[in-house]
């Protein structure tokens, strides 16, 4: 055995456990989901699963509820992530300033991340509830009518976004803050010496240097938000009408309540494809480090 092929063999042996884990935990489930999506497979049905061809996917194309849930998901992800990013960014800068007491505040601000999403949903459900919610109590204190936070189309969406923002803004802050802390001081000094104003330093130096962190946090949050189901489960069940029915909730009700695994898998597969495509386009468009 030549030295080179021996090295290659060693590499193969060393890498194979990781590959195996990847195949077992990632590739197999996805492949199996594709397999299920091509079959009539209902746990509730007495009939055994049978091949369905593209039936489930053809069904998707004429399913208004599916398109509605896509639209709702898109709205939720866009609104939520944009607000989290702006707010998280601003907070990161506040925490980065060397004011006293901010360290404690910064640590406290991480609490929402550590809370279970289901609990967050429950807490906001109670706070926004129209009959005994504390927020509506405040609203009535100011002489206003109680607001239908969870039962009016726009307000319900905003309420879900609010809960998500409450929980995940600290995460954005954490990442941006860490990135800010790792920016070398001398670059800012160079900027000042080169005659840039504070504003120009922010836009020409700080922001571009934070770009990798921003992109990472954006992708993580967008994908995460796209999968969000707990808040819907606790707060609106997708209502009113279908105003807050995000795709994962539709998939959940189809797969786990109606037990129509085939159709749910078809939706899940479509969702994976859409998310992957979106992430790709996104990464190419925004993350391309080439041009300035």
């Amino acid at each position: 055995m030549s030295q080179k092929s021996e090295a290659r063999w060693t590499a193969t042996v060393l890498v194979s456990p990781a590959v195996l884990v990847l195949v077992l935990l990632n590739i197999f489930p996805i492949a199996f989901a594709v397999y299920i999506s091509l079959r009539h497979w209902s746990l509730a049905s007495p009939n055994p699963p049978r091949f369905a061809g593209d039936f489930n996917f053809a069904e998707l194309l004429v399913d208004d509820r599916f398109f509605n849930s896509l639209w709702v998901s898109g709205t939720f992800v866009t609104l939520g992530v944009v607000i989290q990013l702006l707010l998280g960014f601003a907070l990161a800068f506040v925490f980065n300033s060397k004011l006293r007491g901010l360290d404690t505040l910064r640590r406290l601000s991480l609490l929402p991340i550590m809370t279970m999403p289901l609990v967050v949903g429950l807490v906001w459900f109670y706070m926004l509830n129209e009959n005994f919610g504390v927020i509506n109590w405040f609203v009535t204190l100011f002489g206003s009518e109680r607001l239908p936070f969870l039962t009016e189309r726009t307000l319900a969406m905003l309420s879900i976004v609010l809960a998500d923002v409450w929980q995940w803004t600290p995460f954005v802050t954490l990442v941006i803050f860490a990135a800010l802390q790792s920016l070398p001081e001398y670059v800012f000094e160079a900027g000042r010496m080169d005659g840039l104003t504070e504003r120009e330093i922010f836009f020409r130096i700080t922001l571009p240097m934070l770009r990798p962190a921003i992109i990472v946090v954006l992708i993580i949050r967008a994908i995460d938000a796209f999968r969000m189901i707990e808040l819907i489960f606790m707060m609106t069940k997708g209502g009113p009408g279908g105003a807050t029915e995000v795709l994962p909730w539709y998939i959940y009700t189809t797969g786990f309540l109606s037990l129509d695994l085939g159709y749910a898998a078809a939706m899940a597969v479509t969702m994976i494809i859409l998310v992957t495509l979106a992430a790709q386009v996104f990464v190419r468009q925004i993350a391309d480090p080439g041009k300035n």
């Binding site: 007495p46 009959n131 969870l150 069940k237 209502g239 029915e245 309540l257």
Partner: protein, 448 residues
Amino acid sequence: MLHFNSSNRLRHLALAAGAVGVLGAATPALADTVLEGETIRILGIGDPVFQVMQKIHGELEEMAGGTVQLDVRPFDVLRQQVLLNAQNDLSNYDLIAVDLPQFGEYMSFLTDLNPLIEANGYDGSDFHDVAWTGAQFDGAQLGVPLQPHPEIMAYRSDIFEKYGLDAPQTHADVLAAGATIQANEPGMSGVCWNAARGTALGQTFIMNMGDFGAAPIDMEKIGDDFNMGNIQPENMRPTIDTEAGAGTAAYLEALMDVSPPGILNMAWDERVRVFAQGGCAMTYIWSGRSAIYELDESAPARGNVGYVPHPSADGSPNRSTLGGWYLSIPTNIDPDRVDLAWKVIEWLTSADMIAEYTKHGNCVSPRKSVSQDAEVAARCPSIPAVDQMSADGFIAGWQRPPVPEIQKIVDALGTEMHQVLSGDKSSADALAEAHRLVDREMQKAGYY
């Protein structure tokens, strides 16, 4: 070294054996208990009755003289676990909790209890008829009632008296009383009910459709009721886009005007709590949940509540939907454990135990003997009321047909009707769409 190690291990074994011997010597005292030192494995639901069992778990094991392994799951998880457990060669549980409408779905993997009933000379006649026969399919008894209770109407007798109103018997009564009270009683709305999207509203729809004497699928009608014990493929056609369906939708739309704020997000727990605190004059309620205010001394509703059967549409008989939990034995249970499982069923559904549960927040009694117990009645006023409804034949289970597709029907209705109540869709369109969805599902399942 090796030698030393193995001799050491031997010594441990000897010690362990000694310990077993000591334990063994202690067991004879348990010989006349239900479990005789054995372990029973129960898969339960996070509903009041099983929560009570969890609460008194220590006493329960003491009474049983063995280990009670009680796994309590939320509704959806329980269903998945039951379905998955059914695929095992040997069941992981001796007993499983089955909701009344689930029998259709689980039928093929539940043990027929009749041979056990005969062998043990068991008498089921103390149970309410509808509760006992609700678990009968093709002559097989698939479960024993543990916590079956109907969805009925609870109303504030004090408030009704104040405005000179009679107990609501019909939809019209409900709407009229609701309007009167809402207009005159500050901070109090008319009716609390399940209008949250999905399962909650879907169930409301079919139960209220039952008020019209109609079921969501085309079952065989027997008198005022339907034949649930023998549902054939041709009975699976939806009957949603019908006059009864339209009537139901119209009633729900009318209810919106006498409902509390946030009704579109209200479900099981919340409607009772809002009612308990005086937010509504009436509420639709699973009778067992009345414990929420009957056992809460600070609740304004406590002691001021009257119970009537589900109000009917004009001209139809009153029918309250029976639901709730049974104990069943899966068919893939280890044959050696069947007798033990049966003994535990007998014990957990005994009159003593049913009475015991009422002490801890489960206001349900499917047994006539318990329902007539004055102490129980004082604790849970809904129990004698339900007992009377049962005697009057006002309770039925066909509103939620025990077919595997029931959840799909409920989901389709709960989703479509929510759009109607939110003002996004006409009820005609929603009914047609729900009908179409269910029809498609039935065809997909190959019934016709």
